[in-house]
Amino acid sequence: MTARGTHRKWGRRNVTRQVLIGIIAVVFVLWTLAPIYWLFISAISPTAELASYPPHWFPEEPNFNRLRAILSSGLLSSSSMQTMARPAEFFRKALGNSFVVSLTTTAICLTLGTLSGYAFARLRFPGRRLFMLLPLALQMLPPIALAIPLFMLLERIRLIDTLFGLILVYPSFLLVYVIWIMSSYYQSLPNELEDAARVDGCTRLGVFTRVVLPLSRPALFSTGLLTFLLAWDEFLYALVLTTNQAKTMPVAIGEFSTQFGVDFGMMMAGGLLASIPPILIAVLFQPLLVRGITAGSVKG
């Protein structure tokens, strides 16, 4: 009887527990996804429906005109799409700039950072500890502290409002990060393979390119993803160092209303397109990213 009693008590507790877990899970998922849902719905709702009350939580006449206008440079057929030609072009150009800047910066930082990271992990040379810790501290400097002098310097050498200027500046906050993650990855690799290759007469460079690089593919990939995300998200430098031609997507979205007036439908369309690459990366490569975040403890 006591056994049955405790059993029943356990069962009831289990049910309350299940219900509680269910409620928390639903609330948490709603909190997470509702804004994303609204981002998507606002991008595909006609402007009139966006302003209506009661609100159309699901649009009656959804269309992809805004997204199509941004993505296709071709002819815009209907007259309703003519009006979005200019803002759409504004976003299209910024989207292209964002890809060029983020990908190029990631490539540069991976190339330089991997080599330096390896040297920091394996080689003993004078000043190694200082060179390792100093950049780590410096990398945490707020971008505003560097944006002002960088603006004045780039203005002097006429690199304001160029993609090249941005690509030159972005390693200031990305390179250290790559070095740090890669060198901690190399420290976790056993020495034996490299030692064997060296006994066989390989030079350091040979060891690096033939043994170490193939081994670091997964680490390179996850570091590359995080670097890309950080570059894609960057705003302050891009805001200060561009005026017109070289605007990236965050700047285009942030300044949209000053150029074209407040048009949330269009702003959400741009925002949706700017969010798709990072969201895809985050969902598809989550385990890799999580390892990178916890190892690097940098992105905020």
């Binding site: 609204w38 080599l115 501290a137 410096l138 945490m140 390693p171 992105k299 905020g300």
Partner: protein
Amino acid sequence: MHRSGSQPHHFLHKVRRRSSNQRAESRFAFWSVSPSLILMMGLIIGPMLYAFWISLHRVNFMFPERPFIGFENYVDMFQDQGFQSSLLRTLYFMAVSILAQVILGLGLAEFLHLDFRGRNVVRVLMIIPWAVPTIVNGTLWLWILDGSTGALNHLLLQLGLIERDIIWLGRPFLAMNMVILADTWRMLPFYVIMFLAGRQAIPDDLYEAAHIDGASAWQSFVRITFPLLRPVVLVVLILRTLHTLRVFDIIYVMTRGGPAAGTTTVTFLTFFTTFKFQNFGKGSALAFFTGAATLIMALFYIRTLRAGEVEA
């Protein structure tokens, strides 16, 4: 000793090979490290010193002359009421957002560590806000919080929770808290990821032992989880302190520092002074101040991290 004495030739040969090896190593180290170092020197240390140099001058793009004025910009800055209140607002943003996010993050990490159906789906979905670019996040919340056609007002009206539209970003203090809300939506996944990783590293037998000893779930959390998570919590706290000190993007896009300067943080004030009022000297003083404050905290951070390494 005896062996090397009997085979002097071998011994010398070995030494020579080692040293030529070492020279090759040094050369490799030099060529692999110097490009990165030069880039960082040029992009970080150089500009930082240049900012300091500018901050000692009166630099205003409306006037061609740039007289040296010593620390006048700094004296100005500390006496400026706008600076003092922006500092207080930055501290408020820091304290409230970090406190709320740490508490929610700890709770959610504990929740996602439970074993329930659909847990992996929730774990995958929860990372999405963190992937949304900061500017998109700010714009999205600006739209959700819009005073007349925003989704939040519409939702609350439909549910009968409010009778009139609320102008969420219309009053200084309320606007600041709404910015914190938007920041929390995006940053919470970062806390959960960090805390969950730390939580998963705690062995289960500790909890079993506590359970046998009759400890409640809350007692286990206070006595086991929290002390063992402390290093992770500390890392997150310091990182986020550094991040919130530089908060800018989300404020730029949601409120432009308003209303009535209610969301003007130090970074925003710096930006405004420099690029709107064209006062590069004072702006540089503000920037250098933030930079120096961050550096001090960063050094503290690195010391804590390395203390952690020693413990582990």
